[in-house]
Symmetry: C2
Subunit: 322 residues, 2 copies
């Protein structure tokens, strides 16, 4: 079968399409014939050596949709492997599809049968392949951890990446008010077209002054740095900040608003099986279509990965698998 | 009546004992004859002008125990005024006894009758007067927000202040394991005598390496700064950090442990009426006696406040009211 393999770290250009043996599913696993996959930052970080526990060579890719040849159904894969029985927290030996387990950038992938879900009927294969990791992360961040409700205001800093575009779609679907920021006017325009209520260009260092203090119920952030500190200062008393990543590795935060305003800062990574099922049900019920930035053929994988590395995208970068 | 009054900010030495008219209780208020009061950092911050909304002259003091002349019972006062009906959060117009409302450093104070509770029978008047603000803050931080359970390990940085000594006593009472830090060996010895399982001197900048990563379920902190960042790195996956203050106004924190370990950082200030009642019940059930650092007579109030300002105390600094 054809697979996108990484033999040594060094950047996206090290990704190679190779002919390898298809995986042999173990007991309790299903062999899925992948037709569409999608990129996450994680895939780029792995090519750059910026991820814990890299073991090479490996087939990358966490997101995939395709066919289950046995049941002859269209399926989508939950990339969270071995979350375990605690809905609050993954198990110590949990991992994410695509490292160290061979991933979805291939014609076949073997995954635990419990991770294989029917594809929502309203989605194309490319759309379904764009959903898993970012949709799961966004769903847990927005609802399970963020407890966003209709009528609340959510701040979504740095719109453009997969998770943030899902947070925007999910928040609009439940009737929340959304404030998005970006340094790129084109991304703000795209967000506005998707329903963002307020769009702010953070090229202005005083961007946060365009938001009233106390106006924000929830911020869903992966920026860290000064963005997080400013966002905490905008939260209403009792407000929540959910962090699912840190583009800036550190943040210098003022302590006073946290205790005086009874704030919660909640970390989250990926999501439980209940979250994945909840996300698919939510996407189905609200007929949500993921924002697809660009669809590349498998043999354009380096171009696709370089677009991801440059953070130029708005929405998901999809790879079709022949 | 005699009252400790502040006419202008400038430090503890500006506190004066004066003869003023006793307050006249409004409808729904009770006039309490105070016999013991206690200091909190807040009182010192007010004398230094480091508190929001200072209006002078004012009788200071949040903590008080004494008699209700009408019912002829010994009572203790909940210093949280107007928390409101939401157990998660104080109301926008909530305040704390002692600023802007005249406080407990006086022979009489008028407070809402709902804030007057029977004094736990096992406590002396001085002990009861030492409990309210710090006991309430510690109870909410440890249990309502911190959800500490038997068998868990709690890190208590900077033992010595009122709240931290209550956290230690409360944690031991429920069967938790306690790790305390201080820069003063004498305070560590006192904490050990109170049941602290592990004592660490943070004069060693590598103090955190004496604790295994993942060994801590909960940290209750008011230090901020580097202490908070180090504590976050010690929490087990799913662990909690509760912040009730910030001696260092800022903290530079690493974002990775927060999202990767699914951590919660929870801010808290004071507590609800349910928390105060729960704290008194807990203190009564476990026959907890607060740690009293020193008892001063009312006319030694400046000396008492200066000891508080110097952070030399271990436990509460009490003022007897003649």
């Amino acid at each position: 079968m054809k697979a996108v393999r990484l033999h040594e770290v060094g950047g996206p250009q090290n990704l190679r399409i190779e002919e390898i043996e298809p995986p042999v599913p173990a007991a309790g696993e299903t062999l899925v014939r992948i037709r569409a996959a999608a990129f996450n930052r994680r895939d780029v970080f792995i090519t750059q050596g910026l991820y814990p526990g890299i073991a090479l060579p490996r087939t990358l890719g966490s997101d995939g949709a395709g066919f289950d040849p046995k049941s002859e159904t269209e399926v989508v894969i939950d990339p969270m492997l071995g979350w375990g029985g605690n809905p609050h927290l993954w198990a110590g030996d949990a991992s994410i599809l695509g490292m160290p387990h061979d991933g979805t950038f291939a014609q076949y992938v073997a995954v635990p049968t419990a991770n294989v879900y029917p594809k929502p009927a309203h989605l194309t294969m490319e759309e379904a392949g764009a959903i898993p990791l970012a949709g799961l992360t966004a769903y847990r961040a927005t609802f399970t951890r963020g407890q966003l409700e209709a009528g609340e205001t959510v701040l979504i800093p740095g719109i453009g990446g997969g998770v943030q575009t899902f947070v925007l779609l999910f928040a609009k679907a439940v009737g929340a008010r959304t404030i998005v920021t970006s340094g790129t006017q084109a991304k703000l325009d795209r967000a506005r077209a998707l329903g963002a209520d307020v769009t702010i260009n953070y090229a202005d260092p005083e961007w946060h002054k365009q938001i009233k203090r106390g106006e924000v119920d929830l911020v869903v952030d992966s920026s860290g740095g000064d963005t997080l500190n400013k966002a905490l200062g905008l939260l209403r008393p009792g407000g929540r900040a959910v962090l699912y990543g840190g583009t800036r590795l550190e943040s210098t935060i003022r302590i006073f608003p946290i205790f005086w305003n009874h704030l919660d800062i909640r970390g989250t990574s990926m999501g439980s099986p209940e979250d994945f099922r909840g996300m698919l049900d939510f996407v189905t019920k609200h007929e949500i279509r993921p924002v697809v930035d660009h669809v590349y053929a498998m043999d354009e994988v380096v171009t696709a990965a370089e677009r991801m590395a440059a953070a130029e995208q708005f929405g998901k970068i999809v790879l079709t698998i022949p």
